[in-house]
């Protein structure tokens, strides 16, 4: 009985400790995003500005995703050392997480500012795209933690590699989508938000699957990542084409829809954005099955 109560107390203390580490996150966030200081430190009213709510909670959700992969090991060296290790890991991961979002958003939103789009214009498209960035980065970091088995050097190296791949992948959006990013973001077009979110989350799945491989040699490890990405680029169009053919999906893209009164240009329909986004995501998920879930074993024996 004593042990059970003690265990419960320790779990509650750990929960409180884990919550306290989030304070660190607030300061780290404010350091990297001085423009959103108001969002982080002042009272937040979720109903007042919904895009801002999406923006803030996407970051918090990202932290949750990262934390879900961390482990606290009391048996190794006692509770104090376990807490210190956790704290160090949390600080490292917060830094990686925030720097990653900063880099990705600098690449994608180079023409746009948080203050203009969220606080002034209440742009949902911007918020949803930012939401997908947070989830994507958090998911990749989660995979990195899993693969690196809490090794500091490995986390840093894998994070750097994945950031390079992620940076290149977000730049390739204009190659695979018919939607004009900057133009539609100014128009607050939701089709862009859905299409881009599907694209980014799809790439996240591919990058996570590529990182998730086993090799004792670091050079080989990197090589396999590149090879898997390359293979994914080859496999992805086949699934995309297959889905379009099997479900007889018609590409009815219209770049500029006119409103009923004939005065406003609406841009592409939301349905088209959903179609593109889901197609990207589904094709990428199916691609990860091919690149990461096929085990040849002794089908091709190595001697």
């Amino acid at each position: 009985m004593n042990e059970i109560i003690d265990k419960l107390i320790l779990l509650i203390v750990t929960t409180v400790f884990m919550s306290l580490t989030l304070i660190l996150y607030r300061y780290a966030h404010a350091l990297l995003y001085p423009s959103s200081r108001q969002q982080i430190f002042k009272r937040f009213h979720p109903s007042r500005n919904s895009p801002d709510t999406i923006h803030l909670f996407s970051r918090i959700l990202g932290v949750g995703i990262i934390y879900s992969q961390l482990g606290i090991y009391f048996s190794d060296a006692g509770w104090l050392l376990a807490f210190i290790t956790f704290l160090l890991q949390a600080v490292l991961l917060f830094s990686c997480y925030l720097i990653s979002i900063y880099i990705i958003e600098s690449i994608v939103f180079y023409n746009f500012e948080y203050i203009d789009e969220i606080l002034k214009r209440k742009n949902y498209t911007y918020a949803i795209i930012s939401f997908s960035h947070s989830i994507a980065v958090a998911w990749i970091l989660k995979t990195i933690i899993m693969v690196s088995e809490n090794n500091f050097i490995m986390i840093i190296m894998l994070w750097l590699i994945s950031m390079v791949i992620m940076g290149l992948s977000v730049k390739s959006y204009s190659l695979v989508s018919k939607l004009a990013f900057n133009k539609l973001l100014i128009q607050k077009n939701l089709a862009l938000a859905f299409s881009y979110s599907g694209f980014v989350l799809g790439w996240t799945m591919i990058i996570s699957s590529s990182i998730n491989n086993q090799s004792e040699n670091f050079l080989w490890f990197n090589f396999y990542i590149v090879l898997k990405i390359l293979l994914s680029v080859i496999i992805f169009p086949i699934f995309n084409w297959g889905l379009i053919t099997i479900f007889k999906l018609q590409d009815d893209f219209k770049s500029d829809m006119i409103s009923e009164n004939g005065r406003d240009i609406l841009g592409p329909q939301v349905g088209y954005g959903i179609f593109e986004g889901i197609m990207f995501l589904t094709s990428c998920l199916l691609t990860t099955v091919i690149t990461g879930k096929i085990y040849f074993g002794s089908f091709y024996p190595g001697f």
Binding site: K7, F223, L227, P301
Partner: protein, 251 residues
Amino acid sequence: MVDYCDVYFESKMNRISTYIFLTVVYLVLSMSFSHSEKRTFFIRNEKVFSNYFKGTPITVILVDAFRTGFLIKTYYHKYKIIHGFKVPEDKIVRISKEFWKKNLKNLGMSLFRRSEKGHLENVIPMPPGLLYLGDHFYGRWKYINSGEKIWVFHRGYKHFPDVFGWGDFVPNFKFFKKSKIAIENEKSFYGLHDEFGTNGNITKKFLVDTKTPFKNIDKVKHHLKKFMSIPWTSSNTKKSSSQKNSGVLDE
């Protein structure tokens, strides 16, 4: 209209060429770093044996021939290499399709031999152990009651018949003579009654020990059993509970 078609066609062609380029890059990268391509030696035909297998005396026996892959097959030979004074070793090599086809009938046969005296080499498929027959360093001809001459290995090489997979087979002088004639005529020789080679009785007996027959139906049964079995029974429970329940809630 024509311009639009041209632009559409051009963009389509660009995409196809990029796709082909990426596929080629992937294949080249995979090939250059592939473990199996690097590790496994490739033998195009019997002419390569001389460079690949060093030392004398040496006999290379084909003990297994198999192919792997889905549509584009990779062909393999497993050889048992018998040195006169060393422990026999097994080696698996990649081979060409032509060489694989050529040796379909030669399982259990010696594909390459190099003698100690004069380093004479021979690549005509022959029954294993022929290299040592007639060499008085390893054995002698002995008359038996029927008046037939049979080959007997010296005490130090008594294990050779087992190594060659002869079983109960004892070579006689007629066998030796015929094999020499076959070598001179550059023709394969499978024994006086075709005892050697893929369809030979002696080879079949010898290779049955090295191969475990596992029928396809057994594989299907095994997979189905694994797929349909209840995980929380007997031994599975003990294993999985120790591995999985290492979280905070286990007692």
